[in-house]
Symmetry: C2
Subunit: 540 residues, 2 copies
Amino acid sequence: MFREYKSFIKLQELAKNPVDLTKEGFLSSERIHEMKLEICGWKMLYGTERIDNEVLENLIKLSEEARVFLKMKDMQDMKVMNFVSNCKSEERMVGHTAIRAQSISSNMSKEAKEAYEESQVELKKLEEFVSKTSEFKHMVVCGIGGSYLGALAISKALKGLHKTNRTLHFASNVDPDKIATILEEIDLSKTIVAVISKSGGTMEIKAQEQMLKNRFLEKGLNPKDHFVMVTGKGSPMDNPLLYREIFYMWDFIGGRYSVSSMVGGVPIAFICGFDVWSEFLKGASDMDTHALHEKDVKKNMPLMGALLGIWNRNFLNLNTLCIVPYSSSLDLWAGHIQQLYMESNGKRVSQDSGKFIDFSTCPIIFGTCGTEGQHSYFQAIHQGTVTVPLEYIGFFNPQHNTDQEIEGTLNQEKLLSNLFAQAISLARGQSSENPNQYFPGNRPSRMLLTNTLSAYAMGSLLSYYENIAAFQGFIWGINSFDQEGVQLGKLIANKIVEEYKSHRITKKFGADKSLDVEIAFMKELEDLSTKDRHENSKFA
Amino acid sequence: MFREYKSFIKLQELAKNPVDLTKEGFLSSERIHEMKLEICGWKMLYGTERIDNEVLENLIKLSEEARVFLKMKDMQDMKVMNFVSNCKSEERMVGHTAIRAQSISSNMSKEAKEAYEESQVELKKLEEFVSKTSEFKHMVVCGIGGSYLGALAISKALKGLHKTNRTLHFASNVDPDKIATILEEIDLSKTIVAVISKSGGTMEIKAQEQMLKNRFLEKGLNPKDHFVMVTGKGSPMDNPLLYREIFYMWDFIGGRYSVSSMVGGVPIAFICGFDVWSEFLKGASDMDTHALHEKDVKKNMPLMGALLGIWNRNFLNLNTLCIVPYSSSLDLWAGHIQQLYMESNGKRVSQDSGKFIDFSTCPIIFGTCGTEGQHSYFQAIHQGTVTVPLEYIGFFNPQHNTDQEIEGTLNQEKLLSNLFAQAISLARGQSSENPNQYFPGNRPSRMLLTNTLSAYAMGSLLSYYENIAAFQGFIWGINSFDQEGVQLGKLIANKIVEEYKSHRITKKFGADKSLDVEIAFMKELEDLSTKDRHENSKFA
């Protein structure tokens, strides 16, 4: 469908000759002040994107042809949006917006109301849990993928709001070194372990949980007093005999969209308090409401973000996106958005037909915080041969109240000067007699700015990105809510685990012909176990 | 030159029809066992790359036509390799291999010998410094870009070798929140601050240092007792009145190649001890020697890495590279390689002619550790529309001795099973009746394996990547050792800082027409300072 929209054809035409940001006088204060929108305390400035009014009008038409508001309404109403026609697929509702709604409104669907009410029960449990666990100092979250990355990134982002003397750790990897280093930093008698697994059946989580339980038992501590569970009702891990508390999530919450559920709630309310968590949800919900109800596309922040992304991806043919927050607290943020976008929209099947699509979907997402990135890979962004669009995030105030005036400016002002300078230099470039000092410019970017990195700002920022993922999926006509692409690796990994299991008993490798490549890798590694590191280093 | 090599033309021809990894039986145990090399305790397995013997032979010819061993010899001999002909350029020697040499050898150049001897002086100072600072518990490194990222990634990688009760922090950002959060975690009376700035003139570093000094003074502590400096001899910060110790670096050490100098030495020897640091340097030096002297290209690990990268970049036209270590200790490693590759080879000017090149150079580098990535963006790598080559890193043993057998296998074995499974599933793909469960496969990758993540292994791994950057630069014919691309942003940032300075005094924005865009951004941000977050949220 996407390629057949009238606006698609027109945009392809326009993309042959996009505006030139390097043209003398083109980037002006008027353009910066005009190309902006504002909501939930955030401003988006997009004068440094390679668009003009005609492109913008056609992007708006594209959103109309793709009927994005109807689909957003269906999603927020919890219709079954996680499906692929003519294929066996998950066939689930999508409920991450419903569970963070701030109240029941008259135009909410029955399903959304039910999800809202169920989530209120969990929130009450959470509030009580936080008030009853004041003697604990540490929390270890046992979760992988969507069950930790958002909560990790957001808890780090809210560092300035952490309760003092509490620490939060994420056992996000079956790697035994991961748990070993966490154990060095905590006192088990003052530790809560939050195990997170929607299905209750993930190999890595069970292994990590067992490893941790063994350590509690060795210390004479009863795991039941220390372990809480976040899982689906009725999952194999939904067992009140084993956990001091069980929080529920639902199959209508996909892992990467689960931060607003107890997956984020348990760790973030533990480290920041329940009030901060409530503020976060309010920010997210306000942005959800805005995404659905602001029908003036030019004022709708997530929809504009989605359309600008599609312009860069499908019409300017740029296959990466770099996300650069100018705040060291947000240093893991690009990692969460990498997961959110790439797992949601790294797809190749049409949701409506179940057939392969013939256009590009999600770009490769990467990024680190500024100014760090500037002194690192930005060389390639300025003068390399791949054009990378960017999205900056900046704050008027730092989180902490400890900034100082040094050499005539606050350090925050120095930080922001760098942010603005990157947007300008990447857009304008620089001509030079010296080819080595030539900057081609014309690198598109946009900028998100707000007053300070509060819980509310963080919630609305999360929702901005989640709703972009959804809007882009609607426009591309793909299912943004499943993740079939992770299955094949799991299947093969389980076979290799079985090989290792029998190898531990027989001390021999198996002879299954269908696993010859798997066993070849195992043998090559095993061979290293007996080697001195230098024996093959003949020149050393 | 690159495009005119005979082998280039031939490789372009071969790239029209590269091997198909998805073909029934193509990926076999024979192929895995055959396509490998081994050095310094590392194995590289590259049977999952899209190459055959003919491609390999022509890649070897490419390395011959580009005379990479001559250039590597020139580099290690410290000839002036940091230059661009017919352009004003840095005109410097490149000395990061010389300073980590293990002894003086007869075939070393005079310049390399001198650099070696100078580095031995600093190493002696470092050994003494470490032995004399046993009462200190914390180190804060004040450095940006190349002055912190490698040291951060490597010190994290060697977590299992840290001295207990010591902590290491990196004030790598002028962001005041960065220093605020570090200060919450340390006792200043037991803290060493290592300020790192080769030029001694970086705005951010001076601001960070001043902020930290003020905090020591507030506590009645004399900064001189706590601050050490790593800088160039004669730089503005080379002042023994202000520092308890000054370590030197030289203009022949570029920031991103500086880990082996005191930039890495001071923090890593502080946290792991001097012996660990020496082992690290030995690993790096052994790999340097191998890179230069192993003339059988198929056995030369960095050169093979460089050639496989160029095959994927310039002939298969893949413009990204994902680096995935299966070790949570290496979770920042891809970030360092992102800096190393993209800052070294994100270029567009021929070193020999000073003219623009007409081919692609460094791809976009990203990555996180496994299994984390698998549960996140790997969806897009398996089923998305961008083909991403990968490089995996794996270890037979974990660093810590605390692994357990759970459900019949060690957790390390579960981790490695996932590693092998990704390489296989991405190469082979999976056919399916259900388009949503179809995996196109043919995703090329290679794998680096060793026994354990020791200091020696880490040193040789660093050198592997550094020598890849150099070899690729030689083949592309670009200067891998300057970074002109970071200058324009600095220039504009300084102008905005000046605007902020006068704004602090006059409370007004300037009227300089040439800065109208800069001031437009400042105004848009300032406008947010007085806004309540909800006032513009009409639907909330």
